[in-house]
Assembly symmetry: C2
Homo-oligomer: 431 residues x 2
């Protein structure tokens, strides 16, 4: 440790970007490393190699495992799983959250994409499934999967976020929870499917239609009303998720995809779309998924998810092992477009430094941000704050609670805070 601290001191103070050890985001960009006084040997994370540094490991001494048709993660990664919360006696009703504390990058692997189901995951026979477009159309149409798969397709990388993600931040006291439990109802994938606008053109939309009802083939018959304008904009009937057919938990064999909108409007196991004059007022848009306000009113039909950033590493469960250099990394997104800026604080919001954003930065997709941090070993409170391309800035928790009141559940995009203790433990706090 003494050695490590000495070497860290070779990194000049000129690289400090904000309080409590936040360093310049360009410090470790390619070519930039050499510019740092003393070189990046100041990192001090590696060990000097001994004269005969590597022994031949057991696994190198004999041929390894054969090929398999569909690969799985290493058995040493068994902790990297979704965690479900559901009521007693209803194993398929609830949600299952992405373990962002163990992931990096912008893509969520399909096996770890969050799930929200209202009556379990139906076992749909793709050959027997039908998708209907009806209501206020000139030609009601029914599609088999095979027919739909012949249409022209488009692909886009998009996040999905449950409207209830982050709701624990409305609790009076900070929940003893980490990023998976607090913010695990958001994931990101490359979705491929048929433009809904194209299918609506084929059906011929009656000029009286302003909304549509989308209904799933699950036992809950999950259904939501969607403005026609969104359907004509960027809605997809998605068939593929990260290259392969959509997973059963995510809507196999087809789902609606409404980029940027609250997750359950992207109806899974889609069986019909009905064009209507006005919203249908289904159970899932009247009993919930609306935003309660401080004054007792309800903001119904608030669809896009506002900009949010969350630090995923360090975060609760990932204790720091001694003072020194760390990377603060996390995810940011906005239902209104691209992320323009993510700022990071290590002193609970007193000072902020801009993070580096990993390319590609895409509209309505997760964006990975990163910032180097030299932890002094003293207390720190880590936060991230997103600004999207509309200029909207993510609010503090105090501001959001003031706006929404104590009964808030949905569309919480307040700043999440992680406190780092002197022993390296990381804890959810309000700051």
């Amino acid at each position: 440790m003494a050695e490590q601290r000495t070497r860290l001191s070779t990194t000049g103070d000129g690289d400090v970007a904000a309080g409590n050890g936040l360093l310049d985001r360009r410090l470790f960009l390619r070519g930039g490393a050499a510019a740092v006084g003393g070189g990046v040997s100041g990192l001090g994370l590696s060990a000097p190699a001994a004269a005969e540094p590597l022994t031949v490991a057991e696994w190198t001494k004999e041929p390894g495992a054969p090929f398999d048709g569909y690969g799985q993660p290493s058995r040493h990664e068994a902790k990297v799983v979704r965690v479900a919360t559901n009521p007693p006696n209803a194993p398929g009703t609830g949600a299952s959250r992405t373990p962002h504390q163990f992931l990096s990058g912008m893509i969520t692997p399909n096996g770890l994409h969050f799930e929200r189901s209202h009556s379990g995951i139906p076992d749909i026979d793709p050959a027997a499934h039908r998708f209907l477009i009806h209501g206020l159309v000139k030609r009601p149409l029914v599609f088999t999967l095979e027919a739909l798969a012949r249409y022209p397709m488009t692909s886009r990388i998009a996040f999905l976020e449950c409207a209830g993600n982050g709701q624990l931040l409305f609790a009076k006291e900070p929940a003893a929870a980490g990023v998976q439990a607090l913010q695990g109802l958001v994931s990101c994938a490359e979705w491929t499917g048929v433009s809904l606008a194209l299918l609506l053109d084929e059906a011929g939309v009656d000029p009286k239609a302003q909304w549509l009802l989308a209904e799933g083939a699950d036992a809950a018959g999950m259904s939501r009303s969607v403005p026609l304008a969104k359907a004509r904009d960027d809605a997809l009937i998605a068939l593929y998720q990260n290259g392969e057919r959509i997973r059963p938990a995510n809507g196999y064999p087809m789902r609606l995809l409404l980029p940027g909108y609250q997750g359950n409007m992207s109806v899974k196991w889609l069986r019909r779309i009905k064009l209507t004059e006005s919203p249908t007022m289904t159970r899932d848009e009247t009993s919930r998924y609306s935003v309660l306000l401080q004054d007792g009113r309800v903001a119904q039909f608030k669809f896009p998810m506002d900009a949010k950033a969350v630090v995923t590493q360090p975060s609760p469960g990932l204790a720091l092992k001694g003072a020194g250099l760390y990377e603060i990394s996390g995810l940011a997104w906005s239902g209104h477009g691209k992320i323009a800026k993510v700022e990071v604080s290590a002193d609970g919001g007193q000072s902020w430094a801009p993070a580096a954003l990993s390319e590609p930065v895409l509209s309505k997709a997760l964006t990975r941000f990163r910032l180097p941090w030299r932890w002094s070993g003293g207390p720190a409170v880590l936060q991230a704050r997103a600004t999207d391309e509309t200029g909207y800035v993510q609010p503090t928790r105090a501001a959001q609670v003031a706006e929404r009141g104590a009964k808030g559940i949905f569309h919480c995009n307040a700043i999440t805070s992680w406190a780092v203790a002197a022993n390296g433990e990381v804890k959810h706090v309000y700051a």
Copy 2:
């Protein structure tokens, strides 16, 4: 069928982009559909809905399956697997290919990323694995995975292609094979890891070093020489693949990633990098992975994979079901940068139409291209031809065979041809 043909005829000839039914790539872009004479009802793929069109399926009548920690594809997708080829009695030596005929988009899901192993997949304990940088450096360094995971990281979406991908195109007669067997040794993922340049700076590279040796911890000790310039450019020590830790078959817990270079230089299960004055001339760069030329000479150390495009749908095994509208879709990539253009032909290369490229188009990543096609029901030969941002144009098979001779194996990027017969069957041909 009569109905279908009648409706297709409503699409005007003004949308024809090249011979044998290729349509304008903008035909089905958002907003463009309505501009087509007769509307897109000309698609003719859906069926008019009956008065009571949807029955309630069995799977809707009872609650579905509960949540799971790590999800899997639908049981109805069991055919979507990699297929391995390997010599008798060596189950872990050979290759396993991505089923591109069943996939769409640019990302390859981790379970289907191609594999090439020289002595099986080692079962590495990540806590015991060590990575060494030594040779011509000031400070030889050894890294645990835990130490490496604290370094600043970067993410990028990149393809990997085995240098032997497409080698069957050098055969005298066209192999009776589809896109998986012919071109399945290419895949694409988002990789996240530590810049090798950063670690080299920390070790302090001796000015005499111009190359490095990268060695794997598999039983084959697979090793390759890499120019130092590439290592300093965009090389990563990758720890994550599409968000999660790298899969065992793809190098768990760490691999070298050299974007755009022949696949096996991105050494899996990386255990050491040794800085050297010149190439080490390992077995895997002298006995193979070099390009034989027509005149008997060998182009050794040809590293970047040249631009290639391949039609994935339609392709052998996916028979067309009657004349009418189809989408021609495929993948294009270049080891030299971004794809600038993909052209598609339906008449064996007599005429070409530009395909639409799905965003984001990224350097050294797979790019999905698409073009609508109105199949007349007569014979057709489908081809795709890539041009990259350097201006390089993918060669015909005839041109590449003339350059390389009959003994070619590696770096085949000739145009692949699929013949469509009147009965809808699709077959690999030379054209």
